[in-house]
């Protein structure tokens, strides 16, 4: 597997922030995850793709420590931040207090304000979550995860509920923040373009197993019209059993 070797070279897999081995999860008699092994290196962005119901979100929840019904071993090193598909801000706390939720250490107000400024909402700290648009709320959710200075950021289809323009803005923001902070990330997504724009490595989950593990070696900043992007995209779509041209369907 040449692709995998390249991935290990570019991202320090010798020093993983997440190691999961033989993850099994069943709901009733339906097996959702059937022995998943996963390692994420320090600073590595991994996109996890798969059809709906393939267990992507289940795997992310297990890594986030939100699912106690799974077997297997999960070890994460350092701090973890989670961003969900919905913003999940507490409606009764102002934006600033949502970001500062459970935050310890020195200068909490300063760090909160800095995180809010980083997502471009420096002036919205006093707002209630209900007063924000969908895109703004998701930015705040991102700031809430970032302010904890995570070593690994777990994102569960974080941009899927946004409209197309906002999704592009958020993807650009994510790329910039990642370049600045160097956190590792597991990005659960069903958007092949998003995976290829942001990730160092793409995984495809099918029937409870990881069936594809490909390094994305395109140079940053990436764009959908870069040479090489189309091939990767076609490969991934084929792997996800999506016809790549209308004639095939």
């Amino acid at each position: 597997m040449a692709a995998r070797a390249a991935g290990e070279l570019t991202t320090g897999l010798a020093d993983p922030v997440v190691t999961a081995t033989r993850i099994l999860r069943a709901f009733g008699d339906q097996t959702v995850l059937d022995g998943v092994d996963l390692r994420i290196g320090r600073g590595e962005v991994v996109a996890l793709l798969g059809g709906s119901g393939s267990g992507k979100s289940t795997l992310l929840r297990i890594l986030a420590g939100l699912d106690s019904g799974a077997t297997g071993e999960v070890s994460t090193r350092g701090r973890t931040g989670v961003v969900f598909q919905e913003h999940r801000l507490l409606p009764w706390k102002r934006v600033t207090d949502n970001i500062a939720l459970g935050l310890r250490g020195s200068d909490v107000p300063g760090r909160t304000a800095a995180a809010l400024a980083e997502v471009g909402l420096a002036d919205r700290g006093r707002a209630w979550p209900a007063e924000l648009s969908g895109g703004q709320a998701q930015r705040v959710a991102l700031a809430r995860a970032l302010v904890r200075e995570p070593d690994i950021l777990l994102l569960d289809e974080p941009f899927a509920a946004l409209d197309a323009l906002n999704r592009l803005r958020m993807q650009a923001l994510f790329g910039r923040l990642r370049a600045e902070h160097g956190f590792a990330a597991l990005l659960v997504t069903h958007d092949v373009d998003e995976a290829l724009l942001l990730a160092d490595r793409t995984l495809v989950l099918e029937d409870g197993r990881i069936v594809e593990d490909t390094a994305v070696t395109l140079p940053h900043p990436r764009a959908a019209d870069h040479p090489g992007f189309g091939d990767l995209r076609r490969n991934l779509l084929t792997r996800l059993r999506v016809p790549t041209s209308p004639d095939e369907s």
Binding site: V82, R88, P91, L101, L103, A130, R234, S245
Partner: protein
């Protein structure tokens, strides 16, 4: 080739201006219009009494009720009875409210508490608590404990039920998000569960006040020696219709004032909901 599978660009972030643009009628004229009917009723009532259509021993005119109210206020009688009624209401609401809150939280937060407490309370709730008066008379006698336990019983159930459903109705996803922020179980209760249950709790308190006043009316008519209810029963014995109507008026005012106060407190405590309701 790389056909773009994305949908054509949608309008950017939905702005909130849409709801600010909606023309809003000023509340001024409407507020006055809403006062028309009550004022008209009072005027007709007074007029009918003056014209002799309404016999004063059946229903005293508003002017008589006001003057007797003034007289009883000036000689201190009304103040004393009102104080006793308020004390009973306060103690009863406090006892019933604290018990309802504590048991509701116990049943809402802890599974064992749910199993041990909730089925029993749900059964007891079916008892009409005002029907317990004969039994309470045997248990606690005819004194203050009777009035206070009636008010407490009236207040207990709405507060228990709304605390319980408020806690049960919390969006589990918010609790999860708080967990990912590193909040301990106690901190999750404080920052997520309690504020999330607060709207429901406020509803419970408002219902409890209603039930509390009702219980007080009944309780004070059972062998009391003070209180608004006693004032009314005594007036009935002497056919003082104006004092009876005055008592009713005071009960109504107490209910209205407490409800108004609670609504103001609710609007302050739940300021975050205003944006939510408008959007």
């Amino acid at each position: 080739m790389t056909a773009d599978v994305r949908a054509p660009a949608l309008p950017a972030e939905r702005t909130r201006s849409a709801r600010g643009d909606r023309p809003r009628r000023s509340p001024g004229p409407r507020r006055w219009r809403r006062a028309v009917t009550p004022v008209l009723i009072v005027v007709l009532w007074e007029g009918a009494a003056r014209l002799g259509i309404l016999p004063p021993e059946k229903l005293s005119p508003p002017s008589d009720v006001l003057s007797v109210g003034l007289r009883l206020t000036l000689d201190g009688t009304l103040g004393l009875h009102l104080l006793h009624s308020l004390l009973r209401a306060f103690v009863g609401l406090a006892v019933g409210g604290v018990l309802g809150l504590a048991l509701g939280a116990l049943a809402g937060l802890i599974r064992l508490g749910d199993d041990l407490v909730d089925p029993t309370v749900q059964m007891a709730r079916m008892l009409p608590h005002l029907g317990l008066v004969p039994l309470l008379l045997i248990w606690v006698g005819i004194g203050e404990p009777l009035k206070i336990s009636l008010v407490a019983l009236g207040a207990f159930f709405p507060i228990y039920l709304n605390t319980y459903t408020g806690i049960r109705g919390i969006d589990e996803r918010l609790v999860e998000a708080a967990r990912t922020c590193g909040l301990s179980a106690a901190a999750r209760v404080r920052h997520v569960v309690l504020p999330g249950a607060l709207p429901s709790l406020f509803l419970g308190v408002r219902l409890a006040f209603g039930a509390g006043w009702l219980s007080l009316v009944v309780g004070e008519q059972v062998n009391a020696e003070t209180g608004i209810g006693f004032l009314m029963m005594e007036a009935r014995d002497f056919s003082q219709t104006d004092v009876v109507v005055l008592g009713l008026l005071i009960y109504a005012l107490l209910g209205m004032l407490s409800d108004f106060g609670l609504r103001v407190a609710e609007r302050r405590a739940l300021a975050w909901r205003q944006g939510l309701q408008a959007s």
